[in-house]
Amino acid sequence: MLEVTALNAWYGEAQALHEVNVRVGEGEVVTLVGRNGAGKTTLVRCLIGLHRQVSGAVCFLGRDVTRLPAHQRARAGMGWVQDDRGIYASLTVEENLLLPPSVSERAWTLKRVYEAFPELAGRRKAGGTTLSGGEQQMLAIARALRTGACLLLMDEPSEGLAPVVVARIREIIREVKATGVGVLLIEQNVTFAATVADRHYLLSQGRIVETLDTADLQRREGELLKHLGI
């Protein structure tokens, strides 16, 4: 459903991505692994349409979206879970959920969201950023799911969260995968990546240097962790 070909991205004169090729199929979970500053967030921002200084092509659901503005990509079915979670302080929890328009018949009802995320149900009238870090991450994921997005772009969703919360995120990813949603998951946590993903791209200094399957990843975990500087 997502096909990125020869994507280059720049910040002014500095090139941040070099000839990146990435593919995510329906119901496929693909991780993007790379150390700090490798260009992971930049790639996701290019995909959602917020970073525009690019060349190359982004195809989504068989359509070239390279020139589409961000809001149209979201409406076409891309759901972004931002690295800082992107929860609105000036909106309540429920308003955070209702802000993005529904984009497909896959869209969740509020009732379903609250059943899946009971911690949000009790706080629906509270300000978005009054939630704990873990709850905010749940809210960010729930918000993307509520729209009925068919591709989730998740930027380090497990970062800084307690193991129980990470385990829940893993369950959620497995569930949405089963419904055919594609997930591009940015992860520093190789162990976590290995438990949810089908394929792994290793990004280094703006280049995809390797594509691994989960068996490779697990076999070379020690070496990769060293590369990631963890």
């Binding site: 959602i48 917020l50 503005p69 809001h71 979201a74 931002q82 302080a89 802000l99 993005p100």
Partner: protein
């Protein structure tokens, strides 16, 4: 006691103009990221339009309160399409140059057409004279201005907190990029939001018509104080704009009563104090200063 209440009402009436104008300024800044230095000129245009409508078509204040905001909205839409939209991608310096330049042009045009002496304006009879409230005699018009402005502010607040439009305005004020990435066409709201801000500045102008000398220059001093209001309330904060507007009106009225030569200075002393204690303003968020 009697005098105190009279100053208070006078201050709240004057504060109404600041509150309404600052409200428009805050919403424009929030959604467009543009500080509209022409806001004082739009306020002036509102008052001048009301005076012209009364003079030529005999449209009273009641009508002007309805008609002028609509005209000013249309004018704001034209200004946004012609000029302001180009600012959104440019360095903030251009923002100042354009909106300040626009002020000079509008002020000169009005001067050319209507001269420098004030245009007369009489409010409808129902709003003239004084009313006695609990033993205190108060000017009827000032009470009306205050109540009318509060009603408008409450209305805007309801729209902002209870409607989808309000939600989108809040979201694109707080994190515009994220709003776009979540599927909100922020660009579509830019023109109506600017038009609304201009309309409400015009409305403040209409309300001030019976209360102030209507001249081409009436917006200049107003704009300077408006700047203080926005800094005190916190740039981009809607509640802050309204509260600071009334607060500054009160400071001005009491200042004029007890220390006439320092009335304006007092406002800027208040501003300096607020900056010292809360650099982002009374209701500003910390990020807003960055």
């Amino acid at each position: 006691m009697n005098a105190l209440l009279q100053y208070a009402v006078q201050g709240l009436a004057a504060g109404s103009f600041y509150a309404l104008a600052a409200l428009g300024l805050a919403i424009i800044f929030g959604v467009l990221g543009v500080v509209n230095f022409a806001h004082g000129a739009f306020y002036m245009l509102g008052a001048v339009t009301a005076a012209v409508l009364l003079d030529t078509l005999n449209l009273t204040l009641w009508w002007s309160l309805l008609v002028v905001p609509v005209l000013m909205f249309a004018f704001g839409v034209v200004v946004e399409r012609l000029f302001v939209q180009w600012l959104l991608r440019l360095d903030p310096l251009y923002n100042f140059l354009l909106t300040f330049g626009l002020t000079l042009v509008l002020v000169e045009l009005v001067k050319q057409k209507y001269g420098v002496s004030g245009l007369p304006y009489t409010p409808p009879e129902a709003l003239q004279g004084r009313v006695e409230l609990a033993g205190v005699v108060l000017p009827r018009y000032q009470l009306f201005v205050f109540l009318f402005s509060v009603a408008i502010c409450v209305l805007v607040w309801l729209v902002m907190t209870r409607t989808r439009v309000g939600m989108i305005v809040r979201a694109s004020t707080e994190k515009p990029e994220l709003a776009r990435a979540l599927g909100i066409n922020v660009g579509r709201w830019v023109t109506p939001v600017f038009g609304f801000g201009v309309a409400i500045a015009g409305l403040a102008g209409v309300l001030s018509a019976p209360f102030r000398a209507i001249t081409a220059d009436m917006g200049n001093n107003f704009a300077i104080i408006l700047f203080a209001v926005v800094v005190i309330g916190g740039l981009g904060s809607i509640v802050g704009a309204v509260v600071a507007g009334f607060l500054v009106g009160l400071v001005e009225a009491f200042g004029q009563a007890y220390a006439p030569t320092f009335a304006q200075v007092l406002i800027f002393v208040l501003m300096a104090l607020v900056i010292l204690v809360r650099p982002a303003g009374l209701f500003g968020r910390k990020e807003a200063t960055a």
